[in-house]
Amino acid sequence: CVIAHAAQYSAEDLEIFAVQSKLVEDSKRTDYDFYKFLRLPDGASSDAKTIEKHYRNLSRKWHPDKYRDAKTKHRAEKRFQKLSLIITILRDHEKKQRYDYYLKKGFPQYDKATGQFIFGKRFKPNLILTLSII
């Protein structure tokens, strides 16, 4: 049977963590984030229009259909897959808010021993978040 990661996080949170941790892991830069990936100099304060514009330009560049050679196509595909998940999160107001929150306060660490995301300090993100969103 399947072990759910950590009960205290919502599915949206886990989706955000999964994309973020993969991004950091692959880039080997601990300070890497969605906005840097989208080449947005203003980070989280970029407006929706600019985010869309950058997304579209990067799509034109990275979409695997733009490449014929198998090797470059594969590389483009890997990048585009990340781009796709990131834009899905940033387009969703609630998810973007959550992401920005964690970006500011720090992401939980993935605990290899338990297979869960945990915070170093005592912290209940869901309660605060829910309140802030409400």
Partner: protein, 666 residues
Amino acid sequence: MFSITFRQSLRTTGSTCRIPRLPRLSLPIRRFYASGSTIKAAVHKPVKVIGIDLGTTNSAVAVVEGEMPRILENSQGDRTTPSIVAFTTRGDVLVGATAKRQAVVNSENTFYATKRLIGRKFEDDEVQNDISHLSYKVVKHENGDAWLQTTVGENLSYSPSQIGGFVLKEMKHVAETNLNSEAKNAVITVPAYFNDSQRQATKTAGELVGLNVVRIVNEPTAASLAYGMNQKKNGLLAVYDLGGGTFDISVLDIDDGVFEVRSTNGDTHLGGEDFDNVLVKYIVGKFKDSQKGDEDITKNRMAMQRIKEAAEKAKIALSHVHKTRIQIPFIVKDENIDFELAESELDEMTMHLIKKTMEPLKKAISDADLKRSDIDEVIMVGGMTRMPRIRRMVGDFFNKKPNTEVNPDEAVAIGAAIQGAVLSGEVKDVLLLDVTPLTLGIETYGGLFSPLIPRNTTVPCKIQTTYSTAVDGQNSIDVNVYQGERPLVRDNKLIGKFKLTDIPPKPKGVPKIQVSFDIDADGIIKVSALDKDSGKRASITVFGKTGMSQAEVEQLVKQSKKTTKEDQMTLNYLKHVNNLELIVFDSEQAINDWSRFILEEEKESLGRKLSIVKRMISDSRSGDLFDVKLIKAAQVELKDETMEIIQNAGQRSRDARKKVQSHEPN
């Protein structure tokens, strides 16, 4: 310890020295690479990719030539071909109009609207519901899929993919006759709301007949390409696609050649077929009201087939006129069907179907985070959108008159051809960003659906999650993958069951299995697993998946290859036979022309040979003779003998002329 650090720092300094030089070095390489690829592109013509709209009722094929897409006509000169396949008792397979024409007399073996069954389980509600309307038999295959059974041979059964394959083969043939070259690569369209199983089954259909399916494209997206290529307009576009069997609504954002799908919704079991069924029911009811005899007409397959055809005809007529007459003489014994039907009556009896398209419409708009008034243009695709009531309803919904510039029957195939040309590199500056229509997720405790990739995520996309064990020493994990929007898995569609096996026995929670869920550009899902500790690929067993196993597909492909090989051989043979016939014509012509100078015995001998050869030709054409060597030998022999006779005759004619000349000096 020290030495290691030292060496490391040395290496670091070394690389920092080299870094500034790297870009300079790579620049010429990049330039060379770029120029190399342009040369290559200039020398090698891009491989042609045809676009096929595999529709529920009709199919079409198109290709892009010189940046202009065009529909290819079939041998009857039609721009669309009925998606109907029939099997005759003689063992022939009929496709298209020929199959449709004999449907009344062979309704049990004439397969239509099989797209509504593709990639579905026999037990699915939609399938069970269809069975009562269909003139052919639907059976349950070993793996639980809905298959189709004939009454020919030993009740041979076919999968809907195979039937789709026959139609695709016909479309491939149409393309090849038009283009005068092999058409191996194809883009095939599917309803946007098709799930993984239905997409996979459609791809299989193409592979079964030797097509290289380079992409599965969503129908409304393809239609938007057909619209956008001409208009070159930017903005938000809604595509309302109501075809023979399926309904889709897609919202796209077009921006300088980037066609981005923002949201899609639909119903894969709603279309013209349902409208026909309503009308059939109405006609039957009307007949029963005035029936004198007591025969149950619904049990009479031939009569039902005739009613179905009349219903379809009346429905189409009412898109252009307000009143039509339904006339079916001698439907049973001496009774007839003959009454008038008004457009308003049809509108009223099908209103529940038209209304069914409104909910997906609203969902698509809200998923795209838009208001109805944000939509700049609405296009309508699919034959059913010719119905005036539907046009009015959609117009009212958006408060905007739908654009009628695209051809509802051809736009999808045209768009598929454009995407084919994009993939072959023939058309540049066009990019399609399509989405996955349904949320992908897995089953967690208590049958809950845990989403992994939300609907309307742009494809290709990929997400990874890590699984562990719940019990000490557990060596396998079951993962059930579903597609759908409901919170409980039992309300969603099971895509596949995966079992991660060979997990090394460790305390619970220690093993880390990373599972990747990929949705490729075709909207097809792939699952792979990696054991994080050992770095090894974890074993995955897939079962309970709809469709054919790889082995089954390979077996069928082999079979179809063998038949195409046989076809090729017959074709080659018949070419030789044709050549032989030409030689016969030439010989006969020569005997005629040189008759005066050919000896009687020569005439007789050649005549005998000609009559034997003629019999060989007719035997070869009827299939009684198959001997390439014999035909080739006959060609040589006949040619040689004719040449010899003609040479002799020529000699005689020259001799004769000389004689004449010597007798008449000056």
